[in-house]
Symmetry: C2
Subunit: 335 residues, 2 copies
């Protein structure tokens, strides 16, 4: 199995991605294609004590910055993201991992690979850790504008992923809305609710924002705008709490001692909410498996993203999505 | 000044609302009209050591349950929420406070009072505590479907409230979106962005979900669906953290000691995120001032809601909203 890894991605570039990729190649016994500026990658090889027998460099002289907009990155013909997506298209790689500019990975991989047959809109799905296990939130930002039938497809793709990659039989699908009653929501969710009720899935109804981390649903379906806001708000709350905490604890000695004693446990909690632990977001519904890691990723997060890519390929998630989308289209007369 | 208080609202009904209202009447020297089932309110009077010279009971024999849907509460002709809104309409009260069923308060007060002249959609606004002060999020759930010009009006109303009630000169207005760049967002926010740029306000551009509590903006404008999801997600994260925390700390003695020492500080942080501290949400743009407290309110939260109502009336927030909406309509040729 060959996993292409974007070496230029993330806030720290090759320093972090190469270390993570080398670790992954060793730990998971996969072949890694490191895509990026060759000399920079080689420099990182020199720094690392790990073997790199299973690692190959694929030169891509351009990098896309984390803050670059679509008008800028469309022009780059040899960016690491573009070259990585092309490796996937040509069959030279089985999956592509990038912790680069999310908008760029979504745009480029969509353009290079295209949508799977029958899929209206490939979507960005994210595994978050809940009180009870893992919940998949889909879409978290690939599609800011959605139609009700897009949300139905997100449900089907999310279900296929949870069943095949995580081995979760008949996952509970919830619809992100405001209020749990059937009639609550906006025009989009009300119509999507009607579609989800008749789709060949285990639909459990509306889910409120407060249940994003409660484990009430295994898959939470949302348009990409709402999903992205939900995700960013939860990151913001954790950051605010930590920031307030740091401010409060410097005020007196007892709190300092308390913080010191609780630190290990606080870190454990924080890690539970930190999605880089599970490797990152997945682009579902493309002709090829793409994993997008968090920009702030450390080497361990890059390693975990490669593990997720390996599981994605080994469990034939793509085949399952194709089958289930086909099945759903037949059941509903084409969605 | 007379403030009508819904005695039947909240998860705990008169036991909490009456105690909070008596405290508020004493602390803020306002007259309070307690609206609800007379005998139940009187029973609470007997329990309380506080004087109730400034408190009058207005009998309303029906109560609307926290979980009741619109089809059920539309039929109740003498509910405490309906009677409270009518007191406001008749001029017998200057503001109305309820910590009851939010959907019911929004629906009934809109129907009884109607929108202020020039206002398309009255909106639910909430003060949240940020790292730097208070931020107003508008709309948090009154309007699940919005047009771009509605968002523009929310900005104008939010600005009027922050200036008049909080004395904040020329507050910074942000638009809740995905990504800070101007071009990011969905169809609704992209068009709203264009309108906000030319409106007579200090528009600072897109705000991401992570900045809800960072204090980057004084007013954050959003459609009611997104605003409600954002709010519920942040509640959910805090609850999940506390729940994970409790689980973790029972695991070993050192963590227990640590938790004990940090407890006071944790509570302080939690209170900062607890919006009942600031009295609740405001319905802006109605012909009358309505404050909706959190259903889980304790007596102190009810007291703070009455304080917010007093400030609302004393600072002539209604007049300011009317003036600013008029000014904005003139500036843009009618929004």
């Amino acid at each position: 199995m060959k996993i292409a890894v974007d070496a230029m991605g993330g806030d720290f570039g090759p320093r972090v991605t190469v270390a993570g990729a080398l670790q992954a190649a060793e730990d998971f016994r996969v072949e890694v294609l490191l895509v990026g500026v060759e000399e920079l990658i080689k420099k990182e090889f020199d720094r690392s004590p790990r073997p790199h027998a299973r690692v190959t460099i694929v030169d891509a002289p351009e990098a896309i910055g984390m803050g670059e907009g679509i008008f800028s990155f469309r022009k780059k013909a040899r960016s690491s993201i573009l070259v990585g997506a092309q490796l996937l298209k040509e069959g030279a790689a089985d999956a592509f991992v990038s912790n680069g500019n999310t908008a760029a990975v979504v745009y480029i991989s969509r353009r290079v690979l295209g949508a799977m047959e029958g899929v209206n809109k490939p979507a960005l799905a994210l595994l978050v850790s809940s009180l009870q296990g893992l919940t998949l939130l889909i879409d978290v930002g690939a599609n800011a504008n959605c139609r009700p039938q897009d949300l139905e497809q997100f449900a089907v793709m999310g279900r296929a992923f949870m069943e095949s990659a995580l081995g979760l039989a008949d996952p509970r699908i919830g619809l992100m809305s405001i209020g749990e009653e059937d009639g609550k929501g906006n025009d989009l969710t009300k119509e999507a609710f009607r579609l989800l009720e008749t789709a060949p899935i285990r639909f459990i109804g509306n889910i409120e924002g407060k249940d994003l981390f409660s484990g009430k649903a295994d898959v939470i379906v949302s348009d990409g705008f709402t999903g992205n806001v939900a995700l960013k708000v939860s990151e913001g709350v954790v950051e605010t709490l930590l920031s307030m905490g740091r401010h409060e604890i410097t005020k007196n000695l007892l709190a300092k001692v308390g913080f010191f004693l609780m630190k290990r446990n606080l870190k454990k909690i924080y890690r539970k909410l930190d999605y880089s632990e599970y490797g990152g977001a997945l682009l579902l519904g493309l002709k090829g498996g793409c994993i997008i890691g968090h920009g702030r990723s450390n080497p361990n997060a890059v390693r975990n993203a490669v593990r997720l890519a390996r599981d994605f390929v080994a469990n034939r998630v793509q085949d399952r999505i194709r089958t289930e989308i086909g099945r759903a289209r037949q059941a509903t007369g084409g969605i």
